[in-house]
């Protein structure tokens, strides 16, 4: 899974910047998988919260696409935040690479959120068709 995260992030970041920073070793050994797992977890948690807490267990009426988009934005924001704080706390230096990592993780967090939404929405009581109907 570490290799998956490493290749996922490094290939996405290389769209912006092909040069690797001096502390890339840290990204490779620690940060990519740590941030990768955290982001995945956060996205999953938000999806579960949206579909099964607020729209199954509770009847909050927050099933509209607007709510879903807001939650997605939260996931994306948390993704950026996680990439930044976790990297900094593990000794990564402020660099353009870290900036692109934050951008990429924002996108990755949104993608996870979308993926989990599609996978899990059909078992939700009130938000089965948010943000769209189907595919199953």
């Amino acid at each position: 899974m570490q290799t998956f995260f490493t290749s996922l992030y490094s290939s996405l970041i290389s769209i912006f910047q092909s040069q690797r920073p001096a502390d890339y070793g840290l990204y490779k050994t620690d940060l990519f998988s740590l941030v990768g797992w955290s982001t995945l977890g956060v996205a999953l948690l938000l999806v579960v919260a949206f579909y099964y807490l607020f729209n199954s267990a509770l009847r909050t009426g927050m099933f509209r696409t607007t709510h879903w988009v807001l939650t997605l934005a939260l996931a994306a924001g948390l993704g950026t935040l996680l990439a930044n704080t976790l990297s900094k706390s593990h000794g990564a230096e402020s660099s353009s690479y870290l900036g692109y990592f934050m951008v990429v993780n924002m996108v990755v967090a949104s993608l996870w959120f979308l993926l989990f939404s599609v996978l899990l929405k059909r078992w939700s009581t009130y938000a089965r068709t948010t943000p769209f109907v189907g595919p199953f």
């Binding site: 840290l26 740590l34 607020f54």
Partner: protein, 444 residues
Amino acid sequence: MPISVSVGLPASRFFRCFRLAGVLFGTISLLSSCSSEPTETKSASSTKGTKPVATTPAATEAAPLRVSVFLEYSGGMKGFVPRGGADKPPTEFQQRIGALITETQVSGAIADRKYYLCENAAPKAVPFQQLRDVVQGEVNQAALGTELPQMLEGILNMPQATQQVSVVISDFIYGPARKSDFSQLPNLIRTSIAPVSQKQLAVAVFGEASRFYGSYFPAVKTPVQKRTLNGEKVPYYVWVIGPPALVARYTAEVFKNAPAQQAFYGLKTDTPAFAPLLTKLTEPKMKPSGSVYGEGNGLTMNVSDDTAEFTVGLNLKELPAAWQKPEFLAQHVRVRLPNGQASLLPNSVRLLTDDEQSGQPVLAPFTHVMRLRVSKLAAPTATLSLVLPAPETPEWVAAWSTTNDNTPAPRTFGLDQILAGVRQSYPTPLPPVFTVQLPLKNDK
């Protein structure tokens, strides 16, 4: 469920938004507390990623330094050690050698020290005070002396001579009794220091001219057998012989105030602490450029588009003072990279200041930094080596040599031949002083 209160007012939407915000805010704080937890546990392991190459400097504690000091005390040496007084300044010899034996006596770097006077072939052990008395001119009678090869042979035949540092202080005037010996000067010296060849010991030679008061016995006996000098300068030498790393340490840590004329043969230091410096640097000039990062105990780089430049740190405190100078290192250090192209950037060798060492902890283990550039890397992996090849006999030796020393001058009879005998004890080229290596990996 109780939270879902349906209020049929337009305000309900507004409140619902608040509820949503509150729930989300709770989630955030929950998540942030989760994410801060692994920070603590992971921080210990994270150091391995940031500090890639760890050739630990202090881990290998050096072997104890055992030193024997041999002072030739023959009639020919007496002139260096006149009995002084308040009105007579000490000779250069007395200043330099007095300081050297004192440093040898008190230095914490030395585990064990012994002192000898060489009056004939077998050195005579003396206490420190007696040696000091000789140096300050308190002892009057001197022995007849022995020929240089016999003296060296006697010193190197001492028990343990090949495992410790022998410091030989003499004028190194070799005037053989048998005239035919003149033709074999280098060979005679080489034979007399046979253990140097056999065990590949190092020899460090320091030369200085000192004022001389008294009888001077030249090697060339015509037109006069001896002259009485009154303050003319003639040379004397300090030879430091022993295992290469110990000679390096003695030279660097004890004989710090050495004269300018120096020659080293077979000198090798222990592998110095060495590492590429990539992260945690505050000086922008030291930061790496290009695509290079530390991985494992080496570097991974991609130099296909742009060259990689990075700073490396070295601890060269064991090199002789003259060799620690940035100019010397810049001129002599060689960078080798089979299957690639690497170079030392001009004017990049420099000493680290105390401020830099204390301000940037990554620099603390090192005395020097230099910047390397890798411009080509053809193979998937390669090993970059940084080598300090041993310099050949320096130029001052020729200037200090003469074929006729009957007229006193700061020249020694056949010094070039004597040192040729030393030089021949080693292979050509001389073995490098140190080699450090850095594994490189090609980043696709």
